[in-house]
Amino acid sequence: MRRARPAHLNPGGGVGTLEALGTRRVLGPTKTSRSKDKTLEKHLKTVENVAWKNGLAPEGIDVLLNVALSGKFGSAVSTQILKCMIPATLISEDSVVKAVSWLCVGRCSGNTKVLFYRWLVAMFDFIDHKEQINLLYGFFFASLQDDALCPYVCHLLYLLTKKENVKPFRVRKLLDLQAKMGMQPHLQALLSLYKFFAPALISVSLPVRRKIYFKNSENLWKTALLAVRQRNQRPSPEPLKLMLGPANARPVKRKWNSHSVIPVLNSSSCSKECGKKGMSLSDYLSSNGSFPLEQLKSFPQLLQNIHCLELPSQMGAVLNNSLLLHYINCVKDESVLLRLYHWLSQTLQEECIWYKVDNYEHGKEFTNFLDTIIRAECFLQEGFYSCEAFMYKSLPLWDGLCCRSQFLQLVSWIPFSSFSEVKPLLFDHLAQLFFTSTIYFKCSVLQSLKELLQNWLLCLSVDIHVKPVMNSPLETTLGGSMNSVSELIRYVGWLSTTAMRLESNSTFLLHFILDFYEKVCDVYISYNLPLVVLFPPGIFYSALLSLDSSILNQLCYIMHRYRTNLTAAKKNELVQKTKSEFNFSNKTYQEFNHYLTAMVGCLWTSKPFQKGLYIDPEVLEKAGVAQYKSSLNLVYHPALLSYAASFLLQEWPEERTVNLSSIRGKKWNWYLDYLFSEGFQGLKLFIRSSIHRSSVP
């Protein structure tokens, strides 16, 4: 009993069904009652549904082939099973060999045999290996004598035949058959193949003119085959809707005869070889010298053959192949990149769904395509020029919704270039969407601009250390590059300030803005690039007076990093003595000091806004905060007030009233320790670096 139970079942469902069939197989037809037939039918239906929807796993096919060819349930059930034997991806060779062994027992009907051969021909490409099957060549050949099977067996042999299978006795047999049955197209096909492999063995002349040799065995499984092919081409297997009905006629036409957007990997033998005269099929098959891409499976292989690698005939195929992406990454040949550029630009343009009025059904396909591109860009750590060109054209037409995540990721991979040039083409359009969309869109844009900045900085910091600056292609000097980066930062500053106003100082938005500045403040030290850009006042003061304590903490951290970067820059200037192009202007330092004073005033000395801010005393009187000057520090700051209160409650639970003004002197220090213990690490770093503790208020 247990032997019969399939150990592995197909992941797509129908587990119970397969088990039931497996068990029933052993029980056999001895107990067939009407109710049993009903359950069998139900199970078969389930298998059928699963098979046509997702395909069957190799183990499932193994079990079902056994059931079908053992013939235990009769011819009708066998037929039904064979018709839905659609692989999810592949069929294991063993299953086929086992199935063929059932043919020898003679328990299945002629019709089942025919159907099995048709199935084998149709699914031939999905069988994982063919060596074992080829060993059964003699068996198949012997089946030619069966008149009903002959055409299908011929087709199978046509697919299976290798040069070593062509033997004089087989040729004689085929000629005998032909003499007996007349000029049958299927026999002719096999003979012509034999003649191709061994011209000396066959002296009879075969008609030159071609016609259709084989009846189309694939018909039964046509749509399923397409789906399997598509599944096998995708990097990640996903549930896939079957292409049924005439509704899909147009897109197929649009894409001509390729099944997926990205071309299949093929060596470029054709365009290279066709210059030579007299190439024939066998020359193609046995061409040596260069390493065919189809065999490239591992990184060591790539390294060994990198000098003689055949490039794909369609460069777009590299997107799905990480080994070739490695190759693309180090290749110096400009034509490789140009081929990829042209293909990618056109495909993006052709596939882009918001160019089409009525074609939203391809949304998923386009999203997948963009995902593949982004994966490749992340892998290469480099953006494609074609994506940039695509964005120039498509951004003005984008609704901000379609493929949002993908599109914004593409933004973050825009290759480094002069900001002022890209701005009217990209960022101005993006800004329009930014200002008119929801806060979530704004946050996503800021996030991708942060990534863009990071990618630019990485690219520049590598560039500077690898090659002399003068050879940098787009910008002639490092100064130019830095200029472009600082323009980007200032642009984001402008976007952020306006967005804060539009979203009425949303804390959520401010988090994303400060995330951006966490990158900005560390450029000098983290990327070793001579650039410090401060945030605009609109951001600084919003963060400083925010009601959210984590914002305040983040601000403190950023100010601390600015300080560290600026100090390092100053130190380097002093060491080098020479006036270099990249000395920061005094204005940057002044700006920083101004912010610093404001911060220390608000958090420490209770003397906020000493300079540059005048508030009419009458207004303050009316608001009841005439004493405002002493009421803004770490204790009274709106973001920290609750911490101050809980500090008092925790330390002196017996006190009846919470007296905030009592936090001074020693208590002040305890309060600070309390805040640090509550996770204000940014504040801690800021106070340590920017405030001399001798000046206790």
């Binding site: 046509y158 697919l159 096909a189 193949l193 191709f196 030159v208 003119r209 071609r210 259709i212 040799y213 084989f214 036409k253 001509w256 005869n257 390729s258 071309p263 093929n266 470029s268 054709c270 365009s271 290279k272 066709c274 210059g275 005269k277 190439m279 024939s280 099929l281 193609y284 005939s313 369609q314 460069m315 400009e334 034509s335 990149l337 140009l338 081929r339 550029y341 042209h342 293909w343 630009s345 056109q346 495909t347 343009q349 052709e350 020029y385 940039e388 060109a389 120039y392 054209k393 040039e421 009217p424 083409l425 292609p473 787009l474």
Partner: protein, 376 residues
């Protein structure tokens, strides 16, 4: 005479009497309403861009060219009126005749990689084998075998705008008759040709491994076009996209082709507008005697030898207002879908028929320009 109703095309021809006074009136009317934009200030930036070209790789040149295309006015605001070019004289007249009076479907094509004019014979064989293999899927086919079809690649010598333009070439698929009679070359099943007329802007951005023939024209069953296109895409790593012509470019064609000097007119000048309304769309056909059209053009035309955006707009506006005066329909609110003149006719779907061999090069030059714009 005019029946404007769903599904019915409104067809009418201008009476010659209308000509003299109406034109004058139209011109007066449109003089003050003309407000075409001057060239944009952005063009000033072009000198700065030049700096980047120094030492730039082809890829960067491409990107720069795309940037220029995108940031400036999409198409230059002035073009030359098609002239009879000298280069055209060494074109085989038989071949030219073969290209005329046929409806061609337009495609844009990215540069062909490693295409060589010396291998045309081999390409014929390979493409023939490919088609045979496609038609009998799953069977081995040997290159150079005899099939029912014959593929011929041939150069269209002289079909170019400048000496730098690569040579155009023609691909024909012929059916071979089954009977070994004297007429072995059967009928033409499919024809397609590749050309590049004044394609300088594209030529300067690719390296020598590539052949730029951005305009592809096909005549025959679409399944054949698909098959042959697939072979080209696989063999030369290029990309075909259908080339549609928008209303803006159609009106340019209307103006430029009307401006051509003709010895005698072969067809009426006809415009087709489409009104997207349900349940059936409404087509308005507007036919004018070609001499009337020419007279209208001459009245709006100022710059000798050139067509400007302003003139194109004025020309179309005159047609619109005339139509409005008679039928109270604002054609400017509908979509121009087809233009036919004695020089050529073009449909927005990307179909073209060239009638006049004298202006063949001129028509192709504009189409090449559109194709290049699409592949940038």
């Amino acid at each position: 005479m005019l029946r404007v109703g769903p599904g019915l095309a409104a067809d009418f021809i201008f009476c010659p009497v209308v000509r003299s006074f109406s034109l004058q009136y139209l011109c007066l009317e449109t003089m003050d309403s003309c407000d075409t934009p001057e060239s944009t200030p952005r063009q000033r930036a072009s000198s700065r861009l030049k700096d980047y070209f120094i030492g730039a790789t082809p890829l960067q040149k491409r990107l720069e060219s795309v940037r220029r295309q995108t940031s400036f006015v999409p198409t230059p605001p002035r073009r030359k009126i098609p002239q009879c070019s000298q280069l055209q004289e060494d074109v085989d007249p038989q071949k030219v005749a073969f290209l005329l009076h046929k409806q061609w479907t337009l495609y844009s094509l990215t540069p062909l990689y490693k295409f060589s004019y010396t291998n045309l014979k081999e390409y014929s064989k390979l493409l023939g084998a490919f088609i045979a293999a496609e038609k009998q899927k799953g069977l081995a086919v040997e290159v150079g075998e005899d099939f029912n079809i014959k593929v011929i690649f041939s150069a269209l010598l002289g079909m170019k705008g400048t000496q730098r333009d690569p040579e155009a070439f023609l691909v024909q698929i012929l059916s071979k008759s089954q009977l070994p009679s004297e007429n072995r070359e059967g009928k033409v099943l499919w024809t397609g040709w590749f050309c590049c007329i004044f394609g300088d802007s594209l030529l300067e951005t690719v390296s020598e491994d590539f052949t730029c023939l951005p305009l592809f024209l096909a005549n025959g069953a679409e399944t054949n076009t698909a098959m042959i296109g697939t072979w080209f895409q696989k063999t030369f790593d290029c990309y075909f996209s259908p080339l549609a012509i928008n209303a803006y470019n159609l009106s340019w064609m209307a103006a430029m082709w009307t401006a051509c000097k003709m010895d005698h007119y072969m067809a009426t000048t006809e415009f087709l507008w489409s009104v997207p309304c349900s349940p059936q769309r409404l087509d308005i056909s507007y036919a004018i005697h070609p001499e009337d059209a020419k007279a209208l053009w001459d009245s709006v035309h100022k710059t000798p030898g050139e067509v400007t955006q302003e003139e194109v707009d004025l020309f179309m506006d005159c047609l619109y207002s005339h139509f409005h005066r008679h039928f109270k329909i604002h054609l400017s609110a509908t979509r121009l879908v087809r233009v036919s003149t004695s020089v050529a006719s073009a449909h927005t779907d990307g179909k073209i028929k060239i009638l006049c061999h004298k202006y063949l090069i001129g028509v192709l030059a504009y189409l090449t320009e559109l194709a290049i714009f699409q592949i940038e």
